[in-house]
Amino acid sequence: MSLVERAPRAPHRAGSALRAVARAPGLLLSVVVLVLVAVAALAPSLLTGQDPLTGVPADKLLPPSAEHPFGTDQLGRDLLTRTVHGTGPTLRAALLAVAVGLIPGSLLGLLAGALGGAVDDLLMRFADVLLAIPGLLLSLALITALGFGTTRVAVAVGVVGVAGFARVMRAQVLRVRESAYVEAAHASGTRWSGVLLRHVLPGAWGPVAVFAAVEFGTVVLAISSLSFLGYGATPPQPEWGSLVAGGRDYLATSWWLTTLPGLTIALTVLAANRVARALDHETREAP
């Protein structure tokens, strides 16, 4: 593939993405779920008109109905409203976690791939060590040192992703670096940093974005697990993991309190993974 061919690809890609969505109803559904999740995070009041923090105590623990599709909790708060309003904090934590992995991880990968030699060896051995410690255990160690709270949990979860991003980025840098157009640019006298910025980074970005999408699903699960264990959000702020955790005291009587927020988490992760797979497919097909 040459430099000349790169320019007109954007519209082509958008078109094929649309076609891909139309071909696969599962993918379409996943996109719809993610759009809903995004709306819930940015403008929760568009989806629900009720108050997530103040309930009607007399209407406590009502099973799902037309008025309360997810039922109500122990204080008579609408559970759907709380789940919708919990999307923002959950998503912000997840994005923070992805960023905490993505930014240092890609930088390390970029450095390792671009500089090579001893730097590469050292950085990649470091990544190997991080991968040798099971992710959740590393997060737990970080939480022990940092303390509790959603932000700290997000950081602790994000750090686990650093090694993964570094590896993906490095592999891409190496691949792109050896491709003809970069070699040509290098040979034509462009400075290395320029080559890196103009050619290597844009070329490497696709697979890193795919990895970020996969990572998004992973961190949502990890953050909700840690919230469930009690290291996350403070009441009364709703957050997906702590909603499930709060409902488990009512396991014997009010199934909806754990089941429905849990289902929301599962669906979101499923949708994110499905979209990540489609993205992966796209980047692979377009060489």
Partner: protein
Amino acid sequence: MRFSHPSPVRRRATVPAALLCGALLLAGCGANASSSAGGDAGEPVEGGELTFALASAPTCADPQQVATNDSLYPARQLVDSLTDQDPETGEIVPWLAESWEVNEDATVYTFTLRDDATFSDGTPVDAEALRLNLDGIAALGARAPLGHSYLTGYRSTEVRDTHTAEVAFDRPNAQFLQATTTPALGLLAPATLERSPGDRCTEVVGSGPFVLEEYRVNSSVTQVRREDYAWGSSLWEAPGAARLERLTFEVIAESGVRTGGLSSGQVDAIGGVAPQDEATLEASGLTPHRRANPGLPFSLFPQLERPLVSDPAVRRAVSLAIDRQEIVDTVLSPSYRPATSSLASTTDLYADHSALLTHDPETAASLLAEAGWREGPDGVLTKDGEPLRLTLVWGANFGPNQPALELIQQQLRAVGIDVVLRTVTAAEYNGVREEGDYDYAWSNTTRTDPDILRAAFSDTLANFSRVDDPALEELLNEQNGTVDPEVRGPLVERLQGELLEKGYLVPVFELTTVLGYGGDVHELDFEASSRLQFHDTWHG
């Protein structure tokens, strides 16, 4: 996904009894619940095993070093106390001590011990052992969170003869006799006392009807019956060895899993039945057994050194803004009572001060307005540009704490007070209270003697609220200066009212201990302090 355990006959029989219990908590109804449930059960069964599910992990096996109820349930069975207290009449009766005398000003207590009791390592329970124990508890200091306050002003124990000892205090200490009924002052073998406090947490030797077999941190406590146990509390049906051969306490943190475990027969009895599970249990023929805990109700304790709550108007408004009945109705169950005084209604010398604990948001709002608070952005009151935002620190020692506090948060928000809930772990809780970086702290304490007020507010003891009030201090000490209820009663009544008027605590609801077990478990008895005694218990 509800349970459906069809046993309608049983249900009809138990529901009215439960309602009666809820209405007549003052009479110590729960104490007899087990015997009445076992009315048609026939002859007690000797031997057998029982598995009891605890809601939280015991912090230590040593009864002298623990404070949480879930730690005290297993620890209680390992030791005998000098005396016992009748849960219905409040009367102090013999156990290890056959008799006792108290001098006029409650500074000298003389105990005569029975001569046949031994620790499970074979050494005798005598006056010397009593001396070593009391000296040991005094030396444990803060590591004996309950015993430490029971021994305020402790001078010494003199051994008069092998079985007679004289306990002397520098100052009057009227509550000490009731304190000798508690496991915190239970007697341990001298060999155990020589070990380090940490070692005693997993290996402890007492003279009680059960012997510690295995203590697994955060997981379980196994105890076996002591076959040569031949004495006991005069409240028990008969002295001698316990009926159960083996007693296992399993830690099951999830209340839903505890309830389900009981319904499906995986455990025999459970503690900490969540309010929402009581109906489920009743529907499946597993009657919940309840007893209101005496002592301090669940309350908000102000940190009086902080600027916002140092204002009496704010403290009064907080109390008026809280709708105690709504909290009981919403997050608790009919087994619980809203607080009606600084003391829970089953405490000795309790006096009703419900007139001071009304729900009156209008008055609360006008009090705050008079104090200069004006409506600010998003409905929170402000003064000099500063919002009326209070930090409330709490730990998860009781399941409904979180929903109760979220509801309190809503109720205070309705009068313009913003509450920030700060959750801490049990391990952090004490440290956070020491630091004092909060406005209100949430807790309760179980004790049948009203002296719990002194333990909580005296500036030589815990001083939960950081009170600096010499008049109060004097009153606290005065009530501990006499054992005569005629004199002590009015003092304690005045004390309860004064604490409320000054807003040194904001009581919200009384803790009720709710146990669940099936018809095959009998005579699982509540002590006077609503903790458990397994000596007479049998499993049919």
